[in-house]
Symmetry: none
DNA sequence: AATGAATGAGTGTTCATTCAT
DNA sequence: AATGAATGAACACTCATTCAT
């Protein structure tokens, strides 16, 4: 028996990988330097190609950025939406899993830098802000809102306003992410141990949401 | 007795006011657009002078930014250091006053935007980061540390590690500021009422610091 | 008695002259190379300034081109409109004068190259085409149409359709201009003597327009 | 008797057709956008091949353009030269046929756009201008000159200077072509009916050339 | 023969900085 | 002190051309 073989010629395999290589390079560069300060030539160099090659795959800087967001953050949101749609167990468990997934797959990775970037530069690039708000903020929020609504409907959660509660859920995670990511290395801030924070936060919140059982 | 009078002719007073006008314009522009995206021409226009005039007072963009920080944040820290040095009463009172002063005079004003800016863009301008760390973060932190040490020495506070405790004091305030300032308008986050937050935070913390009185 | 003196400092006189110098350089360059092939750096060099200086006076390439057209062709049309509005004599005389002015001040000068350019590249730059059509073609045409209408109303001209007749008037002049201007030097075409052509053309046309006198 | 058959397999015929397909695509693109603005990628796409394939058949953009001219205009001139060389009848008939052929096979087809293009952009591409002048202008002119000379020698035409007369013959046709082709759609010029124009032009000219018959 | 990925020189545009007046 | 004209380095984006497959 053989290991599965890629029968394509080498350059074709290379071609298929290119967009991913470019997106990875772009992510790093955007996170390191911010949107405006990222030079496409540096992204290209980082991916080991020339400036022109970038334009074979992405129409311009803005589309490159959007592709980075889509390929990483939006994709993860999509998975989470799947998880939520097919999940059958208690809402508290689902909510906890979603929060932890968000933390582990986005906030705790370099992707967290994208959120920082949007906070910092969003004002200067309204179209990007719009895109990010539509594809990430709105979709992510409404996912949490739906889970809360489900829990309330099933009598698992107390009858809070699910929209407001969504914000209450989101806020500490973003805070923690800013804390973990953004603070300047020089800043000498204390390291909050993120995993513990998340554990405590989730446990506390779920307990607070729990409906009274007579 | 007379109120102190400015005996200078008007144009000279004007001249003396120039740097202040420029610094005010620069602050607004930096806060609105970030450091990199701020165009000196816009700062000049906002102050009602020409671009060249800016360079009569500030050697370059970086020095302008530093001057904004010095003239506002560093100055406030200086005052606070004075307050602390001459204060004679209980350490808890001093600590509460310092925290509240920090909140009210920096975090709750446009100056809070400078902190956001440093978090967001500091990495791209290492010299600015260094400056900000030395002049603001380090000095501010050490002020709190000194007050904590004083309180412990005087038996008012429990014998915590004053350096770590400093971070614990600072973190929530910065969090609140980020919350108040930075989050994208689109983000739809709930408004935390800052004054209440600060009151509760200060009360709780001081109570937690209080040494046991036998 | 003294010659009128310019009391401004030299650099200010320079500044006032700059736009004209740039427009002149741009006209030459556009006529020589066409719109797309004209490099702004070459325009700048030709005017003896740097590329950046161009942008102090004109927002971009397109605006530079429009300014060239306005400053030359549109201005001349404006004069002609004035002439026509204030003219009191026979319509035939006015019409002849307008045609000749058009020939002498536009077609026979480098400005004719602009028309050639629009014919050649207009398709590729729809916004420029629109502008040129509105500001030059439409205004110029309607001027001739008005004069024809005036002549007909006053019983000087036969009752032709003035709009169609306008085209008949315009066509030969544009033809002559293309002939004079555009033909490649190498092309070895015969030199039509333009002045004679215009004289004969105007004389013939006016005679053809003349109303029958009983 | 059989019609000549192409015995090659289909893919080979395809291969043979390639250059023609490319030339056709190039002609359309050049006429639509002009020489400089034509992107080889668009030509390739139009021909349904890849950009690289273009370079298998034509060394570069310039050679592609020359090939378009050769394959169309020069070829037609060649035919006309043949016609003229073998023609035995009256010179007036030959001359009329040549003029009409020129009109119908070049000026009235998209090929007319090539002439427009050379007029408009020739200056920017001296090598192309040289080529066009040698292969098209000179050869075409000298063909007419030879026919005129023949007619004069045979006593059919009046003894005009054949070189000058050649230009007189050429000018109106080029004019008509410019009129038909190049003028901006927006320009609202009246449509000259080309066939009538040519008929009248040829009839008039031949009559004018006719030698007096005693 | 055919592909299409890759290149890099070239151009329009921006903006911190300088300097003659 | 103040001006604002001038500069030029920097960057996003395009496209003719090359070449490994």
């Amino acid at each position: 028996m053989q290991a599965p073989q890629d029968t394509k010629p080498r350059w074709e395999r290379r071609k298929d990988a290119r967009p991913q290589e470019l997106l990875a390079a772009a992510l790093e560069q955007f996170v390191e330097r911010g949107y405006a300060a990222t030079r496409l030539e540096d992204v290209a160099k980082r991916a080991g190609v020339s400036k022109g090659t970038l334009y074979l795959y992405f129409a311009n800087k803005e589309e490159l950025f959007k592709a980075v967001v889509r390929d990483n953050i939006v994709a993860t949101i999509g998975e989470a939406e799947q998880d939520a749609a097919t999940f059958d167990g208690p809402s508290a468990e689902l909510l906890g899993a979603l929060l932890m997934k968000w933390w582990q797959e986005i906030c705790a990775t370099p992707l967290g830098g994208i959120t920082k970037l949007m906070l910092a530069e969003g004002n200067n690039f309204p179209e990007l802000a719009q895109f990010y708000n539509d594809e990430v903020v709105a979709r992510g929020s409404s996912l949490f809102t739906r889970v809360l609504t489900r829990g309330i409907a099933r009598g698992e959660f107390r009858p809070v306003d699910p929209v407001v509660m969504t914000q209450v859920l989101i806020a500490p995670v973003i805070m923690l992410m800013m804390w973990t990511h953004a603070f300047m290395p020089t800043c000498g801030m204390p390291q909050i141990p993120p995993q513990e924070f998340m554990d405590v936060f989730i446990a506390t919140t779920l307990r607070g949401l729990q409906a009274d059982t007579p």
